[in-house]
Amino acid sequence: MSDAISVTGLVKTFGATRALDGLDLVVGTGEVHGFLGPNGAGKSTTIRILLGMLRADAGTARLLGGDPWADATELHRRLAYVPGDVTLWPHLSGGEVIDLLGRLRGGLDERRRAELLERFDLDPRKKSRAYSKGNRQKVALIAALASDAELLILDEPTTGLDPLMEEVFRETVREEQRRGNRTVLLSSHILAEVEELCDRVTIIKDGRTVESGTLAGLRHLSRTSIQADLAAPTDGLADLPGVHDLRAEGDRVWFDVDTAALDAVLRHLTDVGVRGLVSRPPTLEELFLRHYDRTGAGNGRHAGAAR
């Protein structure tokens, strides 16, 4: 079985809310997979189905070759989970929680535990109710990373971490990546983190998968912003396929163009005569913003393109 996670057509409703509406997600073994989507898109719900907490209404979900609901116990031996909203037992100290979760999971690596405590700069003796949000998150992260689970499921693990700790987190995940054989499903809103760590990403919205693939492949789907000073005004540009948000002022034009139409558009420009040209490659932000946009039509103006 080469896929660590494979989900097709997943549906989950809560009363009138349709949290998942035919979601697809494939995570290959050994890859770090980014799981993105606006608030309420259904990321946590998907993860909770994968953990066997919720039962899907329709669709199939396979996790490490097993059924997340029926084979929960065996599967949980092989995975570690960091919830998005970490709540701990107020009376237990961080160190006690790490020990508890590690032991329930079947033992934890003592050396690694000590090393992670050091790196994340966490005082294990503080009572959980005295921890800040970031420190609670660190407790859950250390408990998960100190296990030797083959699959890590991390639900927005860094939202409360300061930049220094966020860097420690990235370093740790990169190390895991290099060691191989660890699959990571990383739900996140932090694009830099996703860009740096993930091999592939899946973007979901309103419970449906809207985009999935490698980052390079996704970039390809996006548009390039162009500003050109031409030898003469031109009218033909607007009629070319793949040109969006065209604006003209005398001889100067601004527009966005689909990657696939780039050749034809450039040819048109050189026919008119180019005096100056600024082109900006598509950024991930633009790609995400396009999908995150609640109005969602997809042809909204690219951020900053028309300034």
Binding site: R48, H76, L88, S93, L101, L104, G106
Partner: protein, 532 residues
């Protein structure tokens, strides 16, 4: 910024949450007040019957303590004597819960930060909580007074009675406001507030039961009794309560100014870095719930000792011929020389009804673990949902057994030393108390079934189950005119260790079977449903 800025908004916010809670409290208070009037009218319609009833009360310290104060053979005095002992406490209880919910509870949930970072003054949240809580108390008292006047009771007395209900809430709103500043979280704040309530109840009860009426003066619950509605209406006692509430609020404001958001006044101690003993669901459950069990054990031991300490008094009362003694003998079918034992047995039963609350509270904690997300962290490990639940249930079951054993041991020992014989009475009390365990388990098992099947409603159902058990039971039942109690509640089937008939194992086995079925059903439903 004015420290009260934004109070209006917060009051509206608090009222939104209160509207699913406060109406029930008010309904409970008004209903009980009315029910007692109807009860006295039905059962003690004539002056002679009222006199008999008063004779019964005067000859029984337990009953005398229950209602408190002096009784006269008049409808309104008897009715409010019956309801007051409970309603003052209910009003105070509601106020404590409400104030903690809107202050410390909000802080625990992290919502206060959100609220205070908006344009809201430092004192606004506490002020809003106090306004809402005292408003609910005022409403509860006012509606009661209006309704009682409406059914034709004397208006001045009815107003005094309603006011006494209201000020009980006001004093304890002040107590809760201070408790919320002292404690580090809502649970501790509630515990501090309710402990204060318990102490003032015990003082008041002890004062009335023993005839040492001065004991009522240091007790805020006693102040409400001392208003003496429908008798001589001592209005100035209301002033005492109001003044005490105002002073407590001033203290709370002072404390609020000295502490940080989310912090208590007592600094946090460090815990341990390692947890060698936490190995599985049972050790985790034990660690989480041992504090509650220790508190319960101390409480049960204390009240059992207090009840057993009255045994000599009971002997004196029962050695004289009286209606009460005859009643007990007839109902329980015990020989005349066993009456004292039977009376003590009745005390053990009262403790069993109280201890039945323990497994109910433990089931509520199961739900709390679930919605907080902490149970999810445990179940994302190889620990299955059933093993997670089983850990909690094992601690609950053994804890319940331990509490009944403590009740039996303490009562048996003190009883034997004071009026009995250690060799014969002690084992009887212990065996009798342990015989109640299956029935108490059964009460908890109903809550587990509710938790598995209807998680969202389970908190309300669990409380209802316990209240119904106690209300239909053999303790409340007789007070409401029926000696046997209802056969619908499990504690009805506890074998009486003092009855003349030999012990019958049948009911115990049946109770164990029912408990097992309920637990099995609850766990099966839990395993099949969505979690969280």
């Amino acid at each position: 910024m004015n420290p009260l800025t934004g109070t209006g908004h917060l009051v509206r916010l608090a009222l939104r949450r209160e509207r699913t809670i406060a109406p029930w409290w008010i309904l409970l208070i008004v209903t009980l007040a009315l029910a007692m009037v109807a009860y006295i009218n039905r059962n003690m319609g004539t002056y002679e019957l009222k006199l008999t009833y008063i004779g019964l009360i005067r000859s029984n310290a337990f009953l005398q303590g229950l209602g408190g104060g002096f009784v006269e053979p008049r409808l309104e005095v008897l009715a409010t004597w019956r309801s007051g002992g409970f309603l003052y406490v209910a009003s105070a209880f509601a106020a404590v819960m409400s104030v903690v919910r809107h202050t410390r509870g909000e802080e625990d949930a992290g919502r206060s930060e959100l609220v205070r970072s908006a344009v809201v003054g430092r004192r606004a949240q506490l002020t809003a909580a106090m306004l809402v809580a005292t408003g609910v108390s005022l409403f509860g008292g006012l509606v009661t007074a209006v309704v009682l006047i409406g059914i034709g009771l004397e208006p001045i007395g009815s107003l005094a009675y309603g006011a006494a209900i209201t000020v009980a809430g006001w004093v304890f709103a002040g107590v809760a406001a201070v408790a919320a500043q002292l404690s580090r979280n809502a649970r501790t704040a509630t515990a501090v507030g309710l402990s204060a309530l318990a102490v003032s109840y015990v003082l008041r009860y002890a004062g009335d039961a023993s005839g040492q009426y001065w004991l009522k003066y240091p007790s805020p619950i006693g102040w409400s009794h001392l208003v003496q509605a429908y008798q001589d209406e001592r209005w100035w006692m209301l002033g005492v309560s109001i003044l005490a509430g105002a002073v407590l609020l001033a203290v709370a404001y002072q404390l609020l100014g000295r502490r940080d958001l989310g912090a208590g006044l007592l600094s946090e101690r460090l815990g341990r870095a390692r947890a060698p003993e936490l190995r599985g669901p049972i050790s985790l459950a034990w660690r989480l719930h041992r504090g509650l069990l220790v508190k319960w054990t101390a409480g049960v031991a204390f009240f059992t000792a207090a009840a057993a300490g009255l045994s000599p008094l009971g002997r004196d009362l029962l050695s004289r011929p009286s209606i009460l003694a005859d009643n007990i003998r007839n109902t329980l079918g015990v020989p005349a020389d066993e009456t004292l034992g039977a009376y003590s047995w009745y005390m053990i039963l009262i403790l069993a009804y109280a201890i039945a609350l323990y497994p109910v509270l433990m089931t509520l904690r199961l739900r709390e673990e679930e919605i907080s997300g902490r149970a999810e962290a445990v179940q994302a490990t190889p620990v299955t949902r059933l093993r997670w639940a089983a850990g909690h249930l094992v601690v609950t079951g053994l804890g319940t057994t331990a509490l009944m054993a403590v009740a039996g041991l303490v009562f048996g020992t003190l009883y034997s030393v004071l009026v009995g014989d250690l060799a014969t009475d002690m084992p009887r009390f212990l065996a009798g108390a342990l015989g109640a365990v299956p029935a108490v388990w059964c009460v908890g098992a109903v809550c587990v079934l509710a938790y598995g099947l209807l998680p969202r409603a389970s908190v309300a159902i669990s409380w209802t189950v316990w209240i119904l058990t106690a209300a239909l039971g053999q303790v409340a039942g007789p007070l409401y005119g029926r000696w046997g109690g209802s056969p619908l509640e499990p504690l009805h089937y506890i074998p009486n260790a003092f009855a003349a008939a030999p012990l019958d194992a049948g009911p115990v086995v049946a109770l164990l079977a029912v408990t097992a079925i309920l637990l099995g059903g609850g766990l099966l439903a839990l395993r099949r449903r969505d979690f969280g």
